[in-house]
Structure formats: structure tokens, C-alpha cells
């Protein structure tokens, strides 16, 4: 059965070209803000929003953007949406904004945005780009949420701030810190790549 282009885009975003385990993009932020589920959801939503804005604008302007300045154009478009996300978080959700701090600003350097802009939005229509942005954003978000569920459960004994483990549970401090993220994200990439039967030798990685 032949897949329609939109279905292909959806599946690619969620599984086959999933940003974190397949393209290994956006790793910095997934390591940094996945210590609590709340932060992971906020970060996922922020990245998804910035990705959608970037995708629509770049796809709409793709015929106008001169080839030689396209990178600069991506950069300022991405930066604009990221600053919007940062300001809105600060205004509406000050607690979450404080918890994820500088990492919102660092969405600008998140390779998912730059990578998708160069690989997809600049050569596809607005509709497909929008779809691609939504599902890449979801792919990123669900990974972050999965990682953060494990880290918050073991590191704090809670999920979304609710006590889940018994109070006598000995918290794994390492899970709340950066090294815990490396372990969990690495395990996640291992498991999902094994399930997807992906051969890393045949694929390039990113940052």
C-alpha cells in the first residue's frame, strides 16, 4: 500500500525520522529540562509552537527567500518565535519559566528547528510543512515526557508534583541531575532504535 504524503509526514515525525532517537536532534534541551514532567511538557509545547510558526512562515516565503541568505532568514524567524515563547511563558507561567530558565532561549539553537527548516520547509508547501512541524513537535514532546516520567519518578518520587512513590522511597538524586538524563536518553535511544530496527551505520547523526 502506498502512503499518502501527509500520512508519511505524520509517521516520519512520530517514529521513523523522530527528532530525538532517529535524527539525534534537540539532545541538549532534552537532557536539560527532562527532570520534571511539568518542565518537559512546557518545553515540548514551546518547541512545537516555535516549530509551527517557523514552518508556516518559511514555507510561505520559500519562493521569496534568496538562497544565499536563507540561513540568516531561518535564524531570525526562529529567534522571533522563540522570544515570543519566552515572553509568554514569563508572563503566563512564571514558575515554569523559572524552572526551565535559559533553555527556552536555547530553543533558537535547537537543531530540530534549523534542521527541519533546511530539510523540509524550504522545499514544501505550507500545509505539509505545518503537518511536519506539528508531528515533529509531538515526537520531541513525547520523548521528553517519557524521559521525564522516569526521571521525576526516580529522582523526586513524584509525577507532575504528585507523590507517587511511598514517602520512605530513597530518591535517586542522580536522576534529578544531568547525568541521569544521559543514562535515560541513551537507554531510550537504544530501545527505540532496536524496536525500529535502525542501523546507525547507514544513517547520519546530528547534534
Amino acid at each position: 500500500m502506498k502512503q499518502s504524503p501527509s500520512l508519511k509526514v505524520i509517521l516520519n515525525g512520530l517514529w521513523k525520522d523522530q527528532p530525538i532517537f532517529s535524527m539525534v536532534l534537540g539532545i541538549c534541551s532534552s537532557l536539560a529540562v527532562s527532570n520534571k514532567v511539568e518542565n518537559a511538557i512546557a518545553m515540548g509545547a514551546g518547541v512545537t509552537f516555535a516549530l509551527i510558526g517557523t514552518a508556516v512562515l518559511i514555507a510561505a516565503l520559500r519562493k521569496l527567500i534568496p538562497g544565499r541568505v536563507r540561513m540568516i532568514a531561518y535564524m531570525i524567524i526562529i529567534a522571533t518565535f522563540v522570544i515570543v515563547v519566552d515572553r509568554v511563558l514569563k508572563a503566563m507561567f512564571p514558575d515554569i519559566s523559572r524552572a526551565i530558565g535559559p533553555y527556552v532561549g536555547l530553543i533558537i539553537t535547537n537543531c530540530i528547528l534549523m534542521g527541519r527548516a533546511e530539510a523540509f520547509y524550504v522545499s514544501n508547501g505550507v500545509g505539509l510543512s505545518l503537518l511536519d512541524a506539528i508531528f515533529n513537535g509531538l515526537g520531541y514532546t513525547y520523548t521528553l515526557v517519557l524521559v521525564s516520567v522516569i526521571r521525576e519518578l526516580l529522582g523526586f518520587g513524584t509525577i507532575l508534583g504528585l507523590q507517587v512513590m511511598p514517602l520512605s522511597f530513597n530518591k535517586w538524586v542522580i536522576m534529578a541531575m544531568a547525568p541521569g538524563a544521559f543514562f535515560v536518553v541513551a537507554l531510550f535511544i537504544w530501545v527505540t532504535r532496536t524496536l525500529a530496527k535502525m542501523d546507525p551505520d547507514k544513517q547520519g547523526g546530528g547534534m
Partner: protein, 194 residues
């Protein structure tokens, strides 16, 4: 040549439009953000002074029960019975720590301490933010400097227990408090005499 001019025009137009968007967003969010920050500081001051308040009404309670004053260029806040609070800041073990410290009306013992921001190790150093730990600062005499003792050993009026497994964060925290108290309290004493 024409290409180059087009390129320049494109960059200029795109830059202008995006800047306009940012200006608009900034215009609408700035008042909300500064209100949030102010509310956070006010809530911190009320908490340090031990004045109970419902989460949403921090501003009203603050306006009704706390007076802002200034002495020697330092802002401080006075509650009805003469207790004083002011903001402190300094370097913790891993990053900046800041918050509000409140003094009893005698201006030589602590009434309460709150931490608004810290970046200590989660689960270890960050335990300095636990209310139970901050409560151990209540009534401590800081005139000769607060002193850190091994966990469970604090006896004298200026001694504070360390936290098991995280000695350095409380140590840095006490240094910050001592430095800020030494720098600000004399001016506040002068200010309150008048």
C-alpha cells in the same frame, strides 16, 4: 546586481516585520511580567515576615501591612510591629542565591528567611529551600555572625545545623546571609532610630 538589491530588500523587510512582532509582544507582556516579579518579591517578604496571606491576595496584604523604606541606599520593608525585611543576594555553591531575610524588631535576631532563587544540587544542596530547614533560622542571633555546625549540633544562639550530605550549600548560604546582614543592618538600625 539586481539579485543583490533584492536580497538586501528581503532581509530588511523580513527584519522589520519580525521586529515589529517582537515589539508588540514585548509591549503586551512587559507589564504582566513585571507584575509577576513584583508579586513574587512581595510574597517572599510577607513569608519572611511571617505574615499569612492567600496566594492570590499577596499584593493587597502587602499594601495593607508592610511599609517600604530606604536607608543608606538600601530598600527595606517594615511590618506593623517593627519587624524589618530586606532582599539579600550572593553566590551559592553552584549559582546565585537570592531571597528575603526578615529581622525581629530588636534588629539583632532573625525572624525568617525565604529563598526566591537558587541553583543548588536538586535533592542535596537544594534542601536549603525546605521550610523545615529555613525554620531553624528563626530567632537566631546574627550580631556576631551565623555559624555552621555539624548536623544536629547547633546549640548556641548563632549556630545553624548543616545538612547531611550537603555541607557546602548551607555554608555558602550562611556566608551570603552574614555578608548581607553585616552590610545592610547598620544602615537600617540608623534608619529606624529616626
Amino acid at each position: 546586481m539586481k539579485d543583490k538589491i533584492m536580497m538586501l530588500v528581503f532581509v530588511l523587510v523580513l527584519g522589520t516585520i519580525l521586529t515589529a512582532i517582537l515589539v508588540a509582544v514585548n509591549y503586551y507582556t512587559t507589564p504582566v511580567i513585571s507584575r509577576n516579579e513584583q508579586r513574587e518579591i512581595q510574597a517572599g517578604i510577607l513569608q519572611a515576615l511571617g505574615i499569612p496571606f492567600p496566594e492570590e491576595e499577596a499584593q493587597q496584604v502587602f499594601a495593607g501591612s508592610v511599609q517600604a523604606r530606604q536607608a543608606g541606599g538600601k530598600d527595606y520593608y517594615v511590618a506593623g510591629e517593627g519587624a524589618v525585611a530586606f532582599a539579600y543576594a550572593g553566590s551559592g555553591l553552584w549559582g546565585p542565591i537570592n531571597g528575603i531575610v526578615a529581622l525581629n524588631p530588636d534588629l539583632s535576631t532573625l525572624k525568617g528567611v525565604t529563598i526566591l532563587h537558587q541553583e543548588e544540587t536538586p535533592g542535596l544542596g537544594s534542601r536549603i529551600t525546605e521550610q523545615a530547614y529555613l525554620d531553624t533560622f528563626r530567632g537566631k542571633d546574627f550580631t556576631s555572625g551565623l555559624k555552621l555546625t555539624p548536623p544536629g549540633k547547633a546549640k548556641a544562639a548563632n549556630e545553624i545545623d548543616a545538612i547531611t550530605g550537603a555541607t557546602l550549600s548551607p555554608k555558602a548560604f550562611l556566608q551570603i546571609l552574614n555578608a548581607n546582614l553585616a552590610a545592610s543592618v547598620p544602615a537600617i538600625r540608623e534608619g529606624e532610630k529616626q
